[in-house]
């Protein structure tokens, strides 16, 4: 505890010194939590200095990571250990482990934070867990290699995409039944609702596209393609999807194309490709979405993009084979 307090104190002093007290009310610096798939660790970075402030040992093969809505905890899926590590964001220690069933790849939480949704990659299941008790509420059979999860704002629907079945499955959270399936291009990785909840974007890594799905009719309204001069089509592998708060811009991480596409979310036109590190997959914004943090799996670093100018600002090293990222304000 005492060392954590000291660390907070130091961060506070630094922030106060740098910002001449303007942000002094913001006592705690933002922190970035990055899972390192082959190190079995989570790297914690200071959100202003981007210095490593902790390296937290986890169980085996940490990949999916989310912060609880109250930001008290960060949850990490340990694929080869069949559990979730619960990290206390104050002490930066693993305080609890939750059994998930085999091979949890990634996870999402209900809006209130009472439920955890886990995609069990090897078992074609979504496991629903009561976060307070760690008890399983149910398991929902879905397609093969389920990965990205998206939860509607009111929590009525959970969407999971299955990589090998190439579908987005819509799960009703009252009946726990799959109520609709949408076939998308090959190997979907991530599903993300637009901020107004009107559309669901699903990235297809091998198909090289993003499908824009109408979540009411469960039909594909638009397919976004990418053309990058000098980059072969087979290297364009869309994975991570994020929207600005106003929903005007979408960012799509393009994997082996080593770029993040900036898309006008109304016209679906790609406005820009931002060069980042190698094999970017997952991304997360800073609390006010002024910065976008892009995790580069093969260069073991995180590229920081300035959102207003759409420029990459710098890259900071993390652990080996970094996978997911959560941001705690």
């Amino acid at each position: 505890m005492s060392s954590a307090l000291t660390r907070r104190g130091a961060a506070l002093l630094l922030a106060a010194a740098v910002c001449l007290g303007v942000f002094a009310a913001q006592a705690r610096a933002t922190e970035l939590f990055v899972t390192n798939e082959i190190d079995d660790t989570v790297t914690v970075l200071n959100g202003q200095t981007y210095k490593v402030i902790a390296t937290i040992p986890t169980d085996q093969r940490p990949r999916g990571i989310v912060a609880t809505p109250d930001h008290k905890y960060v949850l990490v899926c340990d694929g080869d250990s069949s559990n979730i590590d619960v990290i206390d964001t104050k002490t930066l220690k693993v305080v609890r482990r939750i059994d998930t069933g085999p091979d949890p790849e990634t996870l999402a939480m209900s809006p209130s934070g009472d439920k955890v949704y886990v995609s069990n990659e090897n078992n074609a299941l979504v496991t629903v867990i009561n976060f307070a008790t760690g008890k399983w509420i149910t398991q929902v059979p879905v397609g093969i290699e389920p990965e990205g999860l998206a939860v509607t704002r009111h929590g009525h629907t959970v969407v999971v995409v299955s990589e090998t079945t190439s579908m987005a499955h819509f799960i009703d959270t009252k009946s726990w039944k799959v109520v609709a399936n949408v076939l998308v291009d090959t190997r979907p990785r991530i599903a993300e609702f637009t901020p107004d909840q009107h559309w669901l974007w699903v990235s297809s890594e091998v198909g090289g596209t993003v499908s824009v799905i109408n979540p009411r009719t469960h039909t594909i309204a638009h397919v976004i393609y990418f053309h990058i001069p000098g980059v072969d089509r087979e290297y364009i592998g869309p994975v991570g999807v994020r929207f600005t708060t106003d929903g005007r811009l979408a960012f799509v991480a393009l994997g082996r194309a080593n770029r993040v596409a900036v898309i006008n979310a109304k016209t679906y036109k790609v406005e820009k490709y931002i060069l980042v590190g190698q094999r970017p997959w997952q991304m997360m914004f800073s609390p006010h979405r002024r910065r976008l943090f892009v995790v580069n799996g093969l260069t073991n670093d995180v590229t920081i993009i300035d959102v207003p100018s759409l420029q990459p600002v710098r890259s900071v090293p993390v652990g080996r084979l970094p996978w997911g990222i959560a941001v705690v304000p």
Partner: protein, 410 residues
């Protein structure tokens, strides 16, 4: 633009059409109370005699369900997807015994069954099947052969090849060797005609990528009693003799397609040089040690299903079934002529855990794919190597490119 949406429209059309279609073959049949339409996937194989005694290492095995297990696993996967959109796939494995009448079995199959056939056959049997008049309008997915000839002078319009052929393999190795600047090669060639083809491919790759053949030797190895407990002593004297040449070279490139002696070479060679080719560092479509691009999930899934490791032949069977599944579920295609068109089109793509979608070369119907370079325990690299460029697909730097093809399918 609305590719996926259009797929659904097609699917609906086909479902409607099937009601009035002839029930004799290919028409999906309603599977009673489940409400799913059933599609039969034909897996046609010959059970070739195999003597496990010829395997040089005790660590090797020859499971009876080689290849089939991959197809079974893929069928299970298709059904997981199919149940959500109204399809059920049934894998029908038809086995002709070694010495049995392949032609009669094939004719019976072509007369009654769906003319979309996964062929687990060696080159001469595959060609016999492809050349049957009744197979003229069939689609044959060759999941087994690696013979160059079937992609060149013996290519057939009804046949699609899934595994990388020999020339793709030597090119995959050659790119890596050139990248390493190990450009002087000593070829040691076994006695079979296939070894001669592979050795010719090595020479072709050398010319293509600027490497040099420093020495060549044909070695007619007679294994004698392969698994006697004094085996290594014989090997220890024979292999240095076989590899003694008056030349300076970087690697030994071995052409031994039937595994007669290649596995004896590492650490037994006259000079201290690494061994690549059909043994040592090998090029292949799949290895049980491969885990990149989510292949780890495939390996784990296969192991849970078959209780053994996934081989290249299992991968061939798996890929073949997934290709059929894509045609049926994505494009709504259940008959051979439209399927042939679809497999040759830009709309077709199959996921094979290689980090990119795979499709067919139109000129010889060979599946484009990155090729793994592996040792028995590790994936060393994946070709094409960085810096080897191509105006179309970088994977077309491996094997017979359009300008050099001897196959002209339109």
């Amino acid at each position: 633009m609305l590719r996926a949406a259009r797929t659904f429209a097609l699917l609906t059309l086909v479902v409607l059409a099937s009601v009035s279609a002839s029930p004799s073959y290919a028409a999906p049949t309603a599977a009673g109370r489940t409400g799913l339409k059933t599609f039969r996937i034909i897996y046609f194989r010959k059970k070739y005699h195999f003597n496990p005694e010829v395997l040089p290492s005790l660590l090797e095995s020859h499971p009876a369900n080689l290849g089939v297990a991959g197809a079974e696993e893929a069928t299970y996967e298709l059904n997981t997807a199919g149940k959500f959109i109204g399809w059920h796939f049934k894998l029908d494995v038809i086995t002709v015994p070694d010495g049995g009448n392949l032609i009669a079995a094939a004719q019976k199959l072509l007369a009654h069954g769906p003319r979309i056939i996964i062929a687990d056959l060696k080159a001469n049997d595959l060609l016999a099947l492809s050349d049957l008049p009744a197979a003229q309008h069939a689609v044959i997915l060759d999941m087994r052969t690696i013979d160059d000839s079937l992609r060149q002078q013996d290519c057939r319009a009804n046949t699609f090849h899934l595994l990388p052929n020999q020339a793709m393999r030597t090119d995959a190795l050659a790119q890596y060797l050139v990248l390493k600047r190990w450009t002087h090669w000593f070829i040691i060639q076994g006695p079979t005609p296939q070894d001669a083809v592979y050795a010719a491919d090595i020479r072709r790759s050398a010319k293509r990528y600027g490497a040099h053949i420093a020495a060549e030797k044909v070695y007619n190895y007679n294994p004698g009693s392969r698994r006697s407990d004094t085996g290594y002593q014989q090997i220890q004297t024979q292999m240095p003799l076989a590899t003694e040449v008056d030349a300076d070279y970087d690697v030994i490139f071995v052409a031994d397609e039937t595994d007669l002696f290649g596995d004896y070479l590492p650490y037994n060679t006259f000079a201290a040089r690494p061994v690549v080719g059909t043994q040592g560092l090998v090029a292949s479509a799949w290895s049980p040690a491969y885990q990149e691009y989510a292949a780890l999930q495939m390996q784990q899934r296969f192991d849970l299903f078959a209780h053994r490791r996934m081989t290249e032949l299992d991968y061939g069977g798996w890929l073949a079934v997934r290709i059929v599944g894509n045609a049926v579920m994505r494009a709504g295609i259940t008959t051979p002529i439209p399927m042939r068109k679809y497999l040759r089109s830009k709309d077709f793509l199959v996921q094979g855990y290689k980090g990119q979608g795979l499709n067919f070369r139109r000129w010889d119907q060979q599946l484009r794919q990155p090729v793994l370079l592996t040792t028995p325990l590790m994936t060393v690299s994946i070709s094409p190597q960085h810096g080897f460029l191509h105006p179309g697909y970088t994977t077309d730097t491996l094997g017979f490119d359009k300008p050099e093809t001897k196959c002209h399918l339109h």
